[in-house]
Amino acid sequence: MRPAAAAATERVRHAAMTRAAAALVCGLWAWTGGAPLARAEIPAGETADQTAGGATIEGSAELSTYADSDNVSVLTPTVRAGIRDDTAGYRLGARYLVDVVSAASVDIVSTASSRWREVRHALSVDGEYGPGDVRGAGSASISVEPDYLSLSAGVRPSWKLDDDHITVAVGYALGHDTIGRADAPFAVFHRTLVRHQLAAGASLVLGPASVLWLGTDAVLERGDQSKPYRYVPMFDPAAAARIPAGASPDLVNALRRDERPLEHLPTERNRYAATGRWLHRSSWATLRIEERLYSDSWGQLATTTGVGYAMDVSSRTTLTPDVRFHLQSGTSFWRRAPVVADTGSGTVIPRLRTGDRELGPLATVTAGLELKILLTGSYATTRLAMVLRVAGLHTAFRDALFISQRQAVFSAAGFEGAFE
């Protein structure tokens, strides 16, 4: 390569690196979507064909599937489109998602209900602006099901400090959910759930190849989020002692009392979480370690640990194995077999009661593998990539009725494109 051409290429590479470095700290705070299909370093044998700058149109489509041993399956197509200009400092995007859920899980069958199918539509928009050290981000979303309407909106400003070595961000989002029944319009029956979400955190550049992200968030939920379809079996004290974890529907129906009241949860829930995420880039791979600690006012505690290792197996192919461990305790009012007390004046059932096994103690192990293939040169003006992901999940329910474990498979296939 001639010296002048080499110098020009180096200038373009330097500009791209600087631009991407500025996007890095803000990308950590992106509300939705994955990493931008950014121009990376120029691979050997490729040359820059344009100078840096200008808007980039981005689009992606993904189809994910979920199926588990409890007869639940979910099909989720997602499309996303957006425009970004890192030089001008803005990004706008929109995402549309459909969930098609089909379920005949054991707790549904145990109540003599048949398989049901439900469709959820979710639309969200998000954007960021900030050509300087201060950046503002916002998002809004709506999710619609026959018996559930969810609206939310939020803002998240951030500040770059110390020559981009530290980025501090705070955020607030408000959610408003309307919970109904499929057999009745909201005007006849509905409950309201309001969520306030507060977040604060900072990303720290620890060195030329390491970034640490520390964050904390609180979610304040107000409203009755009890499931209007969920009936909770009740037991005499003697029968409750004979109910083992994972008891079959036949055994439960043989030992339970006639009373089967609807679920009733506290109408206030405060959730708190702290997250740490460390990323380290070697010459050919990125190690990612993440830990999340959780506590809430319902007495539930949890820890979630994730490790991923993204390996560049070629200049256009990245392979990422990952594992994730989630362990949680039950809420303070969780009872595998709720007990009814007969008093002289009548029958007393527990005021707080649930059959939601996700509120009980459980542990989930997830092992996944993601393959990302760049279909075009990473420095082309039109860049395309294909992403494939598959993950296996094993969940152990340590204190639930009907089920003691669940195996599941999640898969996703998607295409990403960026056009300048």
Partner: protein, 67 residues
Amino acid sequence: MKKRIVVLLVALATASCTRVAPYRRGRLAHPSMAQPSSAGPGEQHMRAVQEGAVGGDLDATSGCGCN
């Protein structure tokens, strides 16, 4: 408690004392270093409805396949 918070803030402030010149930030700028989450929207929603301690995000609405 206040002492712990002060210690934490000091640790955070000094954690990034390593100076990294812009021309040495190539690895930091790699796309794999910028991912906010390794999970896509479908997987995030699955976790939100299946793990009580993960929910709470504003994406965590219904559609859980439970009763």
